[in-house]
C-alpha cells in the first residue's frame, strides 16, 4: 500500500512505487493528493520508491493493414485493450491510449531520424514525419472486464482498492508491434528495419 506521511514541517510525502519516464506521474499524483487533502501543491512531495511489479499494467494492441500497396502502408483500424486496474480519469486514460496507438503507428510507418556523419539530418516537422490527421485511424478501446467498447469510462470495471498506475507510454510498444505484425501478415514479408517509409 501507499504510505502518506505528513512531516513536522507540514509537508506531505508519498513514496511512489512507479517509474517516471516522462509521463508526469509524480505531478498527477501530487495534484490528486493536494486536492484530496486541501493542501498546497508545493507542499506535496512525491519521491519515487522502487517500482513494484504487481502486474497491474498491460496493454494489448492489434491492427490491420489492408492497403494493397506495401510501399505506402496505412493502418485502417486499431483495437486496444488495457487493464490499468483503477482508472482515475477514464477519459484521460482513453485519450492516452489513443495517443500511444498513434505514436506506435508513427514509429513503425514513417517517423524516424537519419544520422549523417554523427548528426541528425531531420531538422523539424518539415522532414520528421509523425502521424497527422490525414493518417486518421479509427481506434476503439476495450477493457478486459466487460469487453465492450469504451468501458474504460466505467470506474466500476476495476477493483476499487487497486492502486492507480500511470498508463503513460504503456501502449506504444504494443501498438508498434501490432502494426509491424499487421504489415508482415498483409505483405507476407517480415520487416526488420523501421520506419517502413524512410
Amino acid at each position: 500500500m501507499l504510505v502518506l506521511e505528513v512531516t513536522p514541517a507540514n509537508k506531505v510525502v508519498v513514496r511512489l512505487p512507479r517509474v517516471e519516464v516522462g509521463q508526469g506521474v509524480t505531478t498527477a499524483v501530487a495534484m490528486m493528493i493536494a486536492e484530496e487533502l486541501d493542501a498546497r501543491l508545493a507542499d506535496v512531495d512525491i519521491p519515487l520508491a522502487d517500482a513494484r511489479s504487481e502486474g497491474n499494467q498491460f496493454t494489448g494492441g492489434s491492427s490491420s493493414d489492408r492497403r494493397r500497396r506495401p510501399e505506402n502502408p496505412r493502418v485502417t483500424k486499431v483495437v486496444m485493450a488495457a487493464d490499468v486496474r483503477t482508472a482515475v480519469n477514464p477519459r484521460g486514460l482513453q485519450a492516452q491510449l489513443m495517443g500511444t496507438a498513434v505514436d506506435g503507428i508513427s514509429t513503425i510507418l514513417r517517423a524516424g531520424l537519419h544520422i549523417d556523419r554523427g548528426a541528425v539530418r531531420e531538422s523539424s516537422f518539415a522532414d520528421f514525419l509523425p502521424q497527422t490527421p490525414s493518417g486518421g485511424t479509427p481506434i476503439s478501446l476495450r477493457s478486459p472486464a466487460s469487453g465492450t467498447p469504451r468501458s474504460t469510462s466505467r470506474r466500476t470495471s476495476c477493483p476499487p482498492t487497486a492502486i492507480p498506475a500511470a498508463p503513460g507510454e504503456l501502449g506504444v510498444p504494443a501498438a508498434a508491434g501490432a502494426v509491424a505484425n499487421a504489415y508482415a501478415r498483409a505483405t507476407g514479408t517480415k520487416p526488420r528495419r523501421f520506419p517502413l517509409n524512410f
Binding site: R91, G92, A95, Q96, M98, G99, T100, A101, V102, D103, S106, S123, S124, F125, A126, P130, Q131, T132, P133, S134, G135, G136, T137, P138, I139
Partner: protein
C-alpha cells in the same frame, strides 16, 4: 524602427519592429499574446496557426509588415465575449486536449476549415496538417464533426 498597425482580436495595436520580424514574435514577445505557440520554426507543425482576415495563417512565416491594416485573430480572440466558438465548445465536450501545446493551433485550423466548409468530409478534415505529438487526432475529428453538426 518602422511601426506597424493592425487589428488584433478586435483591438487596434501598433508595434515597432523590423518589417521582416515574424508575426509570431510580435504576438508573443511584443504583445504578450501567447496562445499561438512556437513549435518548428518553419510553419510545418502549425502550432502557431491563427487567422489573417479570417484565413488560416502560420504567424511564424508571416512578416509583421504583411499584416499592416489587416485583422489578426489568435485563439484569444476566437470566442465571442463569454460565448465560446462552437469549435472551442466541441473541444471541451470531447476532452480533446492532452498536453495542450498544439491545441490552440488545432482549434484555429478547425475553425478556419468550418468557416469555408461548414459540412466537412473526412477528406476535408484530412487537409488539416497540424501535428499533435500526443496523438489526439481521433478526438480532433470527433470534435470537428460535432462542431459541424451543431452549427
Amino acid at each position: 524602427m518602422p511601426s506597424h498597425s493592425f487589428t488584433l482580436n478586435g483591438r487596434r495595436v501598433t508595434v515597432e519592429a523590423p518589417a521582416d520580424m515574424p508575426l509570431l514574435w510580435v504576438l508573443r514577445d511584443l504583445l504578450n499574446v501567447t496562445g499561438p505557440k512556437y513549435g518548428c520554426g518553419v510553419g510545418a507543425c502549425r502550432a502557431c496557426t491563427s487567422h489573417l482576415d479570417g484565413d488560416e495563417i502560420q504567424p511564424r512565416v508571416v512578416p509583421v509588415a504583411d499584416c499592416a491594416g489587416r485583422e489578426v485573430t489568435t485563439i484569444e480572440g476566437l470566442a465571442d465575449g463569454d460565448r465560446l466558438h462552437p469549435v472551442q465548445q466541441a473541444w471541451l465536450d470531447c476532452d480533446v486536449a492532452q498536453c495542450g501545446f498544439c491545441q490552440p493551433g488545432q482549434i484555429m485550423a478547425a475553425a478556419a476549415l468550418l468557416k469555408k466548409t461548414p459540412r466537412p468530409t473526412d477528406a476535408d478534415i484530412d487537409r488539416i496538417e497540424n501535428v499533435c505529438r500526443c496523438g489526439t487526432y481521433s478526438r480532433i475529428r470527433e470534435a470537428i464533426d460535432k462542431a459541424a453538426a451543431g452549427s
